[in-house]
């Protein structure tokens, strides 16, 4: 690790101040992505701003039509939350499928979506459920948020404060996990929402994206059969030692069908 200055501010305003004063400063949330990256010397922040002492950044609230989850809420707390389990069980299940128990005890929602790892699970839920990302400056709709590999609509000095997930009529997430890390080789969230049928795919492309052809097919008939014969173009998909682009393209269809099948009544 390269050396850095460590800060643990007690307020968001103070965190913003440190961030503004240091070009190369970085936020640390759970550290489950950032610290390993720093150990490999792939990141060299001048300053680390630890958000863990700031009140009000974690917690889960039912706002009636949505579930709002603070940026610093750990994966384990989303997975075990009775509020999430009652309103969006697919989201609790998704959080419970991330990495391992110790990763879930530290990793946060804000860290996951700020990072936008192409294989991360949460982006599928954020996009699939049509969530709204609340930052310290504005609200960003999920459709405008994920821009590319490790790239989001967040400005350099912008902090995720919370994510609001509208309650779907029903939703399910199916993933083909990497057997070692549990990251999604491909993961698909299918959600029947008030604003229509949504299908979001993670793991396959540079970042989470919506499978519009699948959405159209499922809008006319919400059944696995409706997806029969639909194919995914592998041209822009990821290819690495875990899976080829062609295999990922195939998995998108398989995971989408599995998600539809587990939607239930």
């Amino acid at each position: 690790m390269y050396e850095f200055n460590y800060h643990r501010p007690a307020s968001l305003a103070e965190a913003k101040e440190i961030l503004a004063a240091n070009d190369e400063a970085k936020i640390v949330a759970g550290g489950m992505t950032l610290l390993p990256t720093m150990k490999m010397r792939l990141a060299q922040p001048s300053d680390l701003i630890d958000l863990s002492a700031i009140e009000g950044l974690d917690g889960i609230k039912d706002t009636g039509s949505a579930i709002e989850i603070g940026a610093m809420t750990r994966h384990a707390d989303v997975a075990s939350s009775d509020v999430v389990k009652a309103a969006i069980p697919a989201l609790a299940k998704l959080a419970d499928s991330i990495g391992d128990a110790q990763v879930r005890n530290r990793g946060t929602l804000g860290g996951s979506i700020a990072n936008s790892d192409p294989a991360a699970d949460y982006p599928a839920a954020v996009l699939g459920l049509g969530a709204t990302i609340r930052t310290d400056q504005r609200e960003i709709s999920a459709d405008d948020y994920f821009l590319g590999m490790f790239e989001t609509a967040l400005a350099a000095d912008e902090l995720v404060v919370a994510v609001s997930f509208p309650k779907p009529k029903k939703a399910a997430y199916a993933k083909f996990p990497n057997p070692a890390s549990r990251y999604a080789v491909v993961g698909v969230m299918v959600a029947d929402t008030d604003s229509g049928l949504r299908v979001a795919v993670t793991g396959a492309g540079a970042c989470a994206y919506r499978a519009t052809a699948f959405e159209e097919a499922l809008s006319s008939s919400l059944s696995a059969e409706a997806l029969e014969g639909l194919t995914t173009d592998s041209a822009d998909l990821n290819s690495d030692l875990h899976a080829s682009a062609e295999y990922r393209a195939h998995l998108v269809g398989v995971m989408a069908k599995r998600a539809v099948q587990s939607l239930g009544g």
Partner: protein, 186 residues
């Protein structure tokens, strides 16, 4: 987590890797960190990059917590931070300011093995023993929330703990027996 405010300021910063940087590292300013370790209030000085596992092993000479991979994969370094199992190789010592840390050394009482430790011995849940402290700390966190886990739940929970010797069979058996012993208050 305590709302203590900690700012670690220092003056040097390396441009690139190499001998020059090593010299600058010597100039890192130590920062005080205070925490509870196995029930005892302790404090020491660390540099900002010090990992929690280094703090535990090198500053406090509690070497039961192991480093297997140093890449957040193997779980040999699992300790409890404020009651939850975490990988201490992926947390900074300064992030543990004010925290309550429990390591494998804090599990036995008065020289008597904890029922979970006893179960690992009884059921041959270890061979070389390298993964064992992490396995036990992880298992104790499981049992806290799920006092009667079945085999599948145990295997899923131990996803983040790798063992290169046992093939896991006896580890699962040990955790199950340990949980049972804990339930019956042995």
């Amino acid at each position: 987590m305590a709302a203590a405010k900690a700012v670690h300021k220092k003056t040097t910063r390396p441009g690139a890797a190499g001998p020059e940087e090593l010299q600058q590292q010597d100039g890192l300013m130590p920062t005080k960190v205070s925490l509870t370790l196995n029930g005892e209030a302790v404090s020491t000085e660390v540099d900002s990059r010090t990992l929690l596992v280094e703090l535990i092993r090198e500053n406090f000479i509690k070497t039961g917590t192991h480093v297997g991979c140093d890449t957040s994969q193997c779980g040999a370094c699992v300790v409890h931070v404020d009651g939850r199992s975490v990988k201490s190789c992926t947390m900074l010592a300064l992030q543990a300011e004010g925290a309550d840390i429990r390591t494998i050394e804090g599990v036995a009482t008065d020289g008597e093995l904890h029922p979970m430790q006893e179960a690992f011995r009884e059921h041959h849940g270890l061979q070389c023993g390298y993964c064992t402290p992490g396995m036990i700390m992880s298992a104790l966190d499981l049992v806290k929330n799920n006092p009667d886990p079945d085999d599948r739940e145990i295997r899923e929970w131990l996803e983040g703990n790798l063992c290169r010797c046992t093939g896991y069979q006896n580890i699962v058996r040990a955790v199950k027996a340990g949980a049972e012993a804990m339930r019956s208050g042995e």
